[in-house]
Symmetry: C2
Subunit: 358 residues, 2 copies
């Protein structure tokens, strides 16, 4: 497997694939020899130049380059494209020219792939498909909640307000500062139609905003269900989902900052939260209207989905086996216990290795 674009998503995909028993990272491609390139070298990933003319820059920076990106594409069984939005679509011709199947990220338009993908909702749709798009962080977060609700109760309509972080922690030229921006101002936002790439017949209206925060998105979610249910029953249902963490009352986790502290304390790589983080206390039912708040870690929630997309496309194993394998080897899953990170020991082991490497 090759990773084209080794930034926020790419570096996480490479590590997640590297952790799987049935996959190998044959290389990563970057446009420039920045700090992330040095990280890739330390982790032992062969480096390819995404822009061949820039190879000397890598050498000057002390980074050995294996070759140009098209060599990596030619050698790979599959490429995960993690380049910025819009570049993925431009790269598609390269993958096609080498008959190399590819996974694109959710920033691309839906038609870049034959299928838009969420492991929980439509794994089988990607079986044997050559070009797949894993949906965005927000769409992934919505799909993981909607899928079990639809199966268990039926969904009449979804209304979601997405209170989005203005930029990632490293994106220091983005805003807003001290403002609350309807974004887009027009309603509905594009997120609803994106969810419809996963659930074509779902009635969903979404509203987007951007605020001065960097850590996670927060969704204010309303789902009108077809059945009469209790909040307790919904909570139990969501607690049974491996990629949903229902935050227990009493832990003092009141926002994204404490969620990240919690993940970092547990030794999670980069403090990642691959799971939807749903506040248990927020789950409420009024009539057939279900409400909840969930936080979505925009840098990492799509990572397990990319790993599963590889298995679906290569038809190696079925949905259940792929998801369990991904979760086990990556360390996805948090129990209600505050020390319940399933990956705690492994994460510590990774940290020790890294320190030894340093």
């Amino acid at each position: 497997m090759g990773v084209n674009g080794y930034g926020t998503i790419g570096k996480r995909v490479a590590d997640a694939v590297d952790a799987q028993p049935d996959m190998e990272v044959i290389g990563v491609a970057k446009t420039q020899p920045n700090f992330e390139a040095h990280t890739a070298v330390k982790r032992g990933y062969p480096m390819y130049a995404a822009i061949p003319e820039r190879m000397p820059l890598f050498s000057e920076a002390g980074i050995d380059v294996e070759g140009a990106v098209d060599e990596m594409v030619a050698d790979a069984d599959i490429v995960v494209d993690c380049t910025p939005s819009g570049i993925g679509a431009e790269n598609k011709a390269l993958y096609e020219s080498h008959d190399t199947p590819a996974i694109f990220q959710g920033g691309e338009d839906a038609d870049v792939g034959e299928v838009s993908f969420n492991a929980r909702a439509n794994y089988d749709d990607a079986r044997g498909v050559d070009y797949v798009r894993t949906v965005s962080c927000n769409t992934t977060g919505l799909s993981r909640i909607i899928a079990p609700l639809r199966e268990e109760y039926g969904v009449e309509k979804v209304r979601a307000t997405l209170v989005r972080r203005g930029g990632d922690p490293g994106q220091n030229s983005r805003g807003p500062i001290n403002d609350i921006l309807p974004n887009p101002i027009s309603i509905p936002s594009h997120h609803g139609p994106d969810v419809n790439t996963i659930f074509p017949d779902l009635a969903i209206d979404t509203l987007g905003l951007k605020v001065p925060a960097t850590l996670m998105h927060v969704h204010s979610l309303n789902v009108t269900l077809e059945d009469d249910v209790t909040a307790a029953h919904v909570r139990q249902l969501l607690e049974s989902e491996s990629r949903v963490y229902v935050i227990p009352e009493g832990l003092g986790i009141d926002g994204a900052g404490k969620l990240k502290d919690f993940a970092l304390d547990a030794g999670r790589p980069r403090g990642d939260l691959w799971e939807n983080c749903v506040w248990g206390e927020s789950i409420a039912v009024e009539g057939r209207d279900l409400y909840l708040f969930q936080a979505i870690h925009q840098e990492s929630d799509v990572i397990p989905e990319n790993v599963d997309a590889i298995r679906a496309m290569t038809e190696s194993v079925d949905q259940a086996e792929s998801m369990v394998t991904t979760d086990d080897y990556l360390g996805v899953g948090i129990t209600g216990d505050p020390s319940g990170f399933s990956n705690e020991d492994e994460a510590e082991a990774v940290t020790e290795t890294e320190i030894a490497d340093d």
Copy 2:
């Protein structure tokens, strides 16, 4: 009229009352001689000490004090209590002991008054009543939208996500910084029940959050209507409301920051936006579901409501005459025209007076 508590709300109420042709500010009471006390002196409002023992502090600061707050309460026909949440309820005994009617703010529990008040929705409920509570900034903002929608189309259910500013610009010890907090985490928030003090039979569920911004709240609003309507019809309806400003497309107003710039450019006192600011572009209808975004200036939207409450309680004029008088003399109302502030000339006059005073 006396104002007890001359802070964010009190200083605005005093100026708004002072601008009315049928009202007079007989005094304002403060706990300490801070910068706002000096402003009150400059504006010519007699100063009373809210805590009598502190009178010497005012003298030391060069501020003449007329007396203690109970003298002001005894002399006033009506007191507007603008003290911090919870203090108003403690002050009620003082007002009762002098048989002085009083208006409380929305931070108090509903039972502090016999009636909770919004001029547009239930003016007549406060006629001749001695203790009235004007509802909070958020409840005021919701009531102004719900009232015309109920009258025109009927409302089946309201679902609102309130993305609230963490604190006012001067409240520099408040947060969050770089976080998006569900607040309260439990759903529904207290805002829905507060709206029910205005519309007792309304079905409404509200969800609250706090974000790192100080300028205005932003509401993501969904109203399921009883009639089938078009977005254009709703827009026309809201444009006809004097205390709702439908932001036209094309002005480049994309958030609270530009709204405040717009108000300051127009010479609005303190850059206040007394009106709900609804993005015209956001008004959308899907089936019978209406959606819109509105920004609410938490420091000022309740000001005209306090003025109208005085007239309702004293039974001087009817709802329509009171609201028109308040709006005319305060300068409430923005037309679609970018230079359409109705108070532009008056605001400039105020500014000039202040500069001459300084």
